[in-house]
């Protein structure tokens, strides 16, 4: 495999070496902070390094050696990173497990990684591990860091996180200087992090990333978008996800950013507003939910506020259009934009916790162009990142003065891009991973002999910018021969505030299965004095169908004739990761949907007026009941939206 020399900033470095550097340079600087007792409690670089050292010694005393992998199962907390850095300090690697994972996924990951130590967060995670422990004979120790509720557990394999740190301190007394030698022994080509691939089609594969992979990615990313040690970052997405590792760990350690961890899942938004991060990287669902939050809240505001925001938004939208094309903005427009920003747009950014934001990224899945446009209009510099776990999450990026909403931008430095003869996107950079754990065949399929990573995505170049169509195997051809992706149509539909998820089927006649957004449709129904009981009840209302058909019609307006949505139905439930219908990162599992809802899909195809489905509901107390549900199917053939209806603005759910 050919590798070019990496940039000088991180040449020869590893994460533990960078941590030692940070601790020496700014021992009193704040590395991590977490809210305890209602107050942000800082952990300085010095304390961070000391805790990593203790935990590393503790791991060593448990017999963890160079080349081993430990697993972490829990929400983002300082202990997550302490465990990660401690493992890396002694030459081991870390694999993150999504905290929402269920038994089978946990067993799969822990088994493949052969992890002898799992760091778990709290009682909830320990209970899960306790249940699957018999299937994991090699698992020796589980360390937990939130002791509440675990006081009465007396399993011998269960240890408190601080207990391991204490053990480490005792162990260190006979091993003077051992830690420094171990850190020094660490090489950039050692495995640092094992990241799970999202696995929409199969069980997750475990991609191994080296220190060099991650740090060269961080260098190349920050050479385009510089970061500063004063920058703040709120770490709320799972650290098991490459995107979070990329910014929080790789960029965080190489630039000395301060990471903040939210107090609780329920306080994420308000914590983010308190911190006011400078940089953010989230998958599309976060941006989509922010947009629908704005829509709901603006609709609850009085007419004056709505009016002012409407005017401000239009000005912001016009300015953004010029800015993202890199055009000059005249002095008059600039003054006007400033006023609009102060009066209408900045307060909205502040509510979203984006008041200080300099750059934010979306990645992991495509984001609808209209959502993009909304964020640029309110003055948020949102950019697309394109990459896979296998290339440290990023290979292609929008540049500040050239954000085209349909493209994903241009490759970051040191990254080669080409389109294969079959239309597949191929990438090559120092960040290309070294292989999957225990899966040579899959590794050989992913990286060829020249070091090109086969992404499995279909795309093309448009004026030097990469446009991604979809997963190569998901690219379809319509009856008039145009290549299209169902995701593109789905995103058009999902731009509606009322649509949470959409899955489209067919190539000749496009049909769609839509799930409504409970929050926005709920508040719309309230506003319309429409009574409903459950989600199922709401989704079956004729009025809701009337509402959604309008939205589908609107999405159709932007689509070529051949791929306009012909028919749709509203599903009686939301797609749920616990039902395997959607991944933990909220990507739709098409094969599961196609199997489970086969009756619905064929009824859509045949163009029937309604379809019934039997569905088993399991209640929380464990009892289950079978029920038959009738779903209407709506046809858009000849649909004309009622005349009196005004077009609703992007930022509002109301007309």
């Amino acid at each position: 495999m050919s590798r070019r020399p990496s940039t000088e900033r991180s040449a020869g470095k590893t994460f533990p070496k960078l941590l030692a550097e940070r601790a020496a340079e700014t021992p009193k600087g704040v590395a991590l902070q977490e809210k305890l007792y209602g107050i942000w409690q800082p952990i300085t670089w010095e304390e961070y390094a000391a805790r990593v050292r203790d935990f590393a010694h503790g791991l060593a005393s448990l017999g963890i050696k160079r080349g081993d992998i430990i697993a972490v199962l829990g929400d983002n907390r300082p202990e997550w990173l302490i465990a990660e850095l401690a493992a890396q300090s002694i030459g081991a690697a870390v694999v993150g497990i999504y905290p929402t994972s269920l038994d089978e996924e946990i067993v799969h990951i822990v088994t493949v990684a052969d992890a002898r130590v799992v760091v778990a967060e709290d009682q909830e995670q320990v209970d899960k591990l306790q249940k699957v422990k018999p299937q994991l004979p090699h698992l020796e120790t589980v360390a937990y860091y939130d002791p509440h509720g675990l006081e009465t557990y007396d399993e011998p394999w269960l240890v408190e996180f601080t207990g391991i740190e204490e053990r480490g301190r005792a162990w260190a007394q006979d091993h003077e200087g051992w830690f420094e030698v171990e850190v020094e022994k660490g090489q950039p080509d050692d495995i640092a992090v094992v990241c799970t691939t999202s696995g929409t089609t199969s069980k997750p594969k475990l991609g191994q990333l080296t220190h060099r992979n991650l740090l060269s990615m961080a260098d190349n990313l920050t050479s385009v978008d510089p970061l500063d040690s004063k920058d703040r970052f709120v770490s709320f997405l799972p650290l098991a996800w490459i995107g979070e590792q990329m910014i929080a760990v790789a960029c965080g350690l190489s630039h000395g950013m301060t990471l903040s961890f939210p107090e609780d899942a329920a306080t994420q938004r308000s914590d983010m507003r308190e911190i006011g991060p400078h940089v953010m990287f989230s998958p599309p669902r976060i941006w989509e939910s922010m947009l629908s939050e704005v829509q709901v809240r603006i609709d609850e505001a009085g007419w004056l506020k709505r009016r002012i925001f409407g005017i401000g938004y239009d000005i912001g939208d016009r300015t953004a259009e010029r800015r993202v094309r890199g055009e000059r903005i005249g002095i008059g427009s600039r003054v006007l934009a400033k006023v609009a920003d102060w009066v209408a747009l900045r307060p909205v950014r502040d509510q979203l916790g984006l008041a200080r934001i300099q750059r934010c990224y979306t990645g992991g899945a495509p984001l609808g162009p209209d959502v993009f446009r909304f964020f640029h209009a309110i003055g948020v510099n949102l950019k697309q990142i394109y990459g896979q776990t296998e290339i440290c999450g990023i290979a292609v990026l929008h540049h500040d003065d050239d954000v085209r909403f349909h493209s994903v931008g241009v490759p970051i430095p040191e990254t080669d891009l080409k389109i294969s003869d079959s239309g597949e996107i191929l990438l090559r950079s120092p960040s290309v991973f070294v292989g999957y754990v225990g899966n040579e065949t899959a590794t050989a399929e992913a990286i060829d002999d020249d070091g090109w990573l086969h992404t499995g995505d279909a795309g093309y170049l448009d004026d030097g910018q990469l446009v991604v169509i979809d997963r190569a195997k998901d690219v379809l051809t319509s009856k008039d021969g145009t290549r299209f992706s169902s995701a593109f149509i789905e995103n058009k539909l999902k731009f509606s505030p009322y649509v949470e998820e959409a899955v489209v089927f067919g190539t000749d006649e496009i049909t769609a299965m839509i799930t409504i957004d409970a929050m926005t449709v709920g508040s719309w129904a309230e506003n319309e004095h429409l009574t409903y009981t459950t989600y199922t009840d709401l989704a079956a209302k004729t009025e809701v169908y009337d509402l959604v058909i309008d939205e589908v019609h609107r999405a159709n307006a932007d689509l070529p004739d051949a791929i306009k949505v012909k028919r749709f139905l509203l599903l009686f439930k939301q797609l749920d990761p616990d039902d395997d219908e959607i991944t933990r990162t909220r990507k739709v599992r098409r094969n599961v949907i196609a199997e489970r809802y086969a009756e619905l899909i064929s009824a859509l195809e045949r163009g029937e007026e309604s379809v019934s489905i039997t569905n088993t509901v399991t209640y929380q107390d464990g009892t289950s009941v079978e029920r038959t549900i009738n779903l209407k199917i709506r046809d858009l053939e000849g649909y004309v939206p009622p005349k009196h209806k005004k077009q609703r603005p992007v930022w509002s759910g109301r007309r």
């Binding site: 809210k35 305890l36 007792y37 209602g38 409690q41 304390e47 860091y145 939130d146 002791p147 509440h148 509720g149 006081e151 009465t152 601080t162 107090e263 609780d264 329920a266 306080t267 308000s270 929380q620 107390d621």
Partner: protein, 282 residues
Amino acid sequence: MLTRAYRFSLNSSRVPAGEPLLEIRDVSLRFGGIRALTDISFTVTQGHVHAVIGPNGAGKSSLLNCTSGLYKPQEGHILLHTRDKEGDGGHSHDLVKSPPHRIARLGVARSFQNIELFSHLTVLENLMLGRHIHMNHRLLPAMLWFGPARKQEVRHREYVEEVIDLLQLQAYRHHHVGSLAYGIQKRVELGRALCVEPSLLLLDEPMAGMNAEEKEDMARYILDVNELRGVTVMLIEHDMGVVMDISDRVSVLDFGKLIGDGTPDEVRGNQAVVEAYLGADA
């Protein structure tokens, strides 16, 4: 270093688990000619969840009100046992003869059937009020908020934050209580009672008006408070499923009389209880 383990004990009673904490002896309460309670006697043991059940108007709330000092029964004694430190002989206080503020100082904390919070104060302020009984700074430092007054408030806030963490109220800390959902308000009430640092926690229908999921949450919190933090709980509840699941001991009242007292299984098999609930023919 700040660890995640709690630093404060929520339970202020030093009576060892398994020993009697509250003894109700021959209590009778009359309102004019109406006999609300007649010769009630039972014992609440330290470390237990003790449920008081009975049909409407059986006198459950009256009994709780006697214990917290709101009503004064005409006859009988309600003895609360306390210890100054582990191992000493201990004292008994007759709650019938004590004014409510003294009873509160002995650590008897309660929640109400209808929510009795300050709806225009925030969750945090309501909980801090629960700590008020333990604040003892003088007027001037308190007004100027310096020195000991300030230190004390910080200390009490730490205690309150542990209660917030235990009951997962973080997201509502600065919300006005009046704007919160009913289920959350009930949780705040429980929180305020815990902030008193109770030796005995009295809960009057903590799950009334809740849906199944909220009830399950509340039951979980009550069990956490009892099992993990050692607080003795005496509660009134109508939902038999919940009562039988979480209680160590159940006392049954009917028309002001005690008709059953024992473990949930014993009470379930008690003929008098079945009759009171299902009618004599059942």
